[in-house]
Amino acid sequence: MIEIEHVRKAYRGRPALHDLSLHIPEGRIFGLLGPNGAGKTTLLRLIMGVLQPDAGRIRLFDGLAPGSPAATRQIGYMPQQLALYEGLTVRENVRFFGHMYGLDGAVLDARTTEVLERVELSERQESLSGTLSGGMMRRAMLASALVHQPRLLILDEPTAGVDPLLRLRFWDWFRRLASEGITLLVTTHHISEASRGDEVLFLREGSILEQGRPDELIRRYGAADLEAAFVQATRRAVPGDDASRTANGDPGGGDPPGGNPSTGQVPSGGVPA
């Protein structure tokens, strides 16, 4: 599904990703974890074709280059921000993004209805997006990312600001999507919820720290949970590095210039439970 070979990316000489190689198989939920500046957003943007790597090669869907029309049509994206048009209704928002992927007419109508049912927003489909709660807006964003039936769904902090119950509901939807053959690439600061994924990648300063099934990683580090495993993996990689530094300090890694000004979140990656 996604083949990444020896990819490097730097911003004005500042390395963001170092010689990163990765294989992400189809129909899996793949969690990307790491503190701010670890290179998560850079990796996502390289996969989506918004950025070009300085070196190395990325191939999607059996050989397509990122950014090519054939590849982008098969990708659904849900950004961190509440990226909806507040002056449009929920249904209009979903239909608008469907139009952007070339959908129209009865097909678009049917798919819009289907994805709104999937995220349980049918009853609020005629509400203006600006009047929705944060959780509802996230559900509407998921619906609009799914309307064109992507094979790869990229979710950047999809549950940020979402209450715990709804967060569980989101992961139920993710699991169902994966069972339908969709590959999900999820970044999150909630490390505990990443353990619900099939595979997890720990990123730090643009390099892979660890990769594997959540239960394997927990076992490997003899940790109580994935969060503790992440902290131990970080300490092992950088002797003397403590949890607070991982949690609060920007290690100088690789968000692009401008970073992610909208989030303002403190990474939870290094905070011990």
């Binding site: 049509r73 990708i75 992927y101």
Partner: protein
């Protein structure tokens, strides 16, 4: 009470740390005021030329001296050969000189002036006025009126047959008759008729610029632009979609301004003139849209986007021939004015509305607007590509 102080401190800290806001806040008013001062520190002066034939040439020197005594008037030469003596040809040459902008008014002494005065007539001066700028027309008419009174005093005394000796010794100086001929407009032409037409391109530019600037900035900040660019769409497609949407929205707005303008204006306007105005307005709409999008790329947030508004709008108010004639500016400011789209739109609008010119006759301004549209489009493509590379 302390909380109020801390809120104030927080506001100041944020502004101080945003260098661009700081620069806009303090430099924009000083910059714009300096530009206006440097461009306009001399009062507007009207240019008057004097043309005389035959024995009437005798009075030219005195009249020119009298005119030079008048405030805000200068005497300038016009290019009319001496050997042209046919009054109709002279009139055509005078109108041509006015059309070319060589003078704002031309005073013409007919050959028969002296003979007329000797024969007891008042004698007639012909004042040809360019007429499109009421302030200059007023300056010329007033100066010529005063100067002709001085001249009349030096001319042979005209005494009516029924004038007594006492009359002849006192108010025996009959004023010269001044016949005014307007190249554009008429005596009924009001100051407001000069300003109203250019309010159309101004409002269209101002409102469309703000709308596109803020709306596109919101698209960037809330992340929907990123979502669009990740869809199988190119930035030019997104921008063209934006332009089309704004255009369809702005056209009714421009139509309302135009209809209201036509209702307020004090002279008849033909269908052809309205059509020409629509072309100029459409070009201004497109340029304002592109500039709005460009500025939204330059700003990091909506706060900064708003700060660009005075920087883009104010110079265009002061330097676009809207209030003050750019012909009176020192050359660097004249060149600066020519770089502003509103300058060309205003000149073209007045050419069409006040001078009754066809659109093709004001082609240099149309060409300039077209060139600015293309330049803004290319610049937007470059900025957009750069932005995409740095997305995030």
């Amino acid at each position: 009470m302390k909380a109020i102080g801390w809120i104030a401190v927080r506001v100041i800290l944020e502004i101080v740390r945003d260098r661009r806001t700081l620069a806009f806040f303090f430099l924009v008013p000083v910059l714009v005021m300096s530009l206006v001062y440097l461009a306009l520190f001399k009062d507007e002066t009207a240019r008057v030329a004097v043309v005389a034939r035959g024995a009437a040439r005798l009075f030219v020197y005195d009249l020119e001296r009298a005119l030079e005594q008048e405030k805000d008037v200068v005497v300038v030469p016009v290019d009319i050969p001496d050997d042209v003596r046919d009054p109709k040809l002279i009139q055509a040459d005078i109108e041509d000189a006015l059309r070319k902008g060589q003078a704002d008014g031309v005073l013409y002494f007919e050959e028969s002036l002296l003979a007329d005065r000797f024969s007891g007539k008042r004698g007639t001066l012909h004042l040809y006025l360019e007429g499109s700028r009421p302030t200059l027309t007023g300056l010329v008419a007033s100066a010529v009126g005063d100067a002709s009174d001085d001249l009349a005093a030096s001319l042979p005394v005209v005494i009516d047959s029924d004038c007594s000796a006492k009359c002849a010794n006192s108010v025996n100086v009959k004023p010269l008759q001044i016949d005014k001929h307007y190249l554009y407009g008429s005596e009924d032409y009001r100051l407001i008729d000069f300003f109203l037409p250019v309010l159309l391109p101004f409002f269209v530019f101002f409102l469309t610029f703000i709308l596109s600037n803020i709306a596109f900035q919101r698209e960037r900040v809330r992340g929907t632009l990123e979502r669009l660019l990740i869809a199988p769409l190119s930035l030019p497609q997104v921008v063209l979609g934006y332009m089309l949407g704004f255009l369809l929205f702005s056209i009714p707005q421009a139509a309302i301004v135009l209809v209201y303008l036509l209702a307020l204006i004090g002279f008849p306007v033909s269908v052809a003139q309205v059509g020409d105005l629509c072309v100029i307005t459409l070009l201004m709409l497109l340029i304002a849209l592109l500039l709005g999008l460009l500025v939204s790329f330059a700003a990091r947030n909506e706060f900064q986007a708003v700060q660009f508004i005075p920087l883009v709008i104010l110079p265009q108010v002061f330097f676009s021939d809207m209030i003050w004639s750019i012909d009176r500016f020192a050359w660097p400011f004249r060149w600066f004015a020519m770089l502003l789209p509103l300058t060309h739109a205003n000149i073209a609008t007045r050419d069409v509305m006040l001078k009754h010119q066809h659109l093709w006759q004001t082609w240099p301004n149309l060409l300039a607007l077209l060139a600015m549209f293309v330049a803004a489009l290319l610049l937007l493509a470059w900025v957009g590509r750069r932005h995409r590379d740095m997305l995030g």
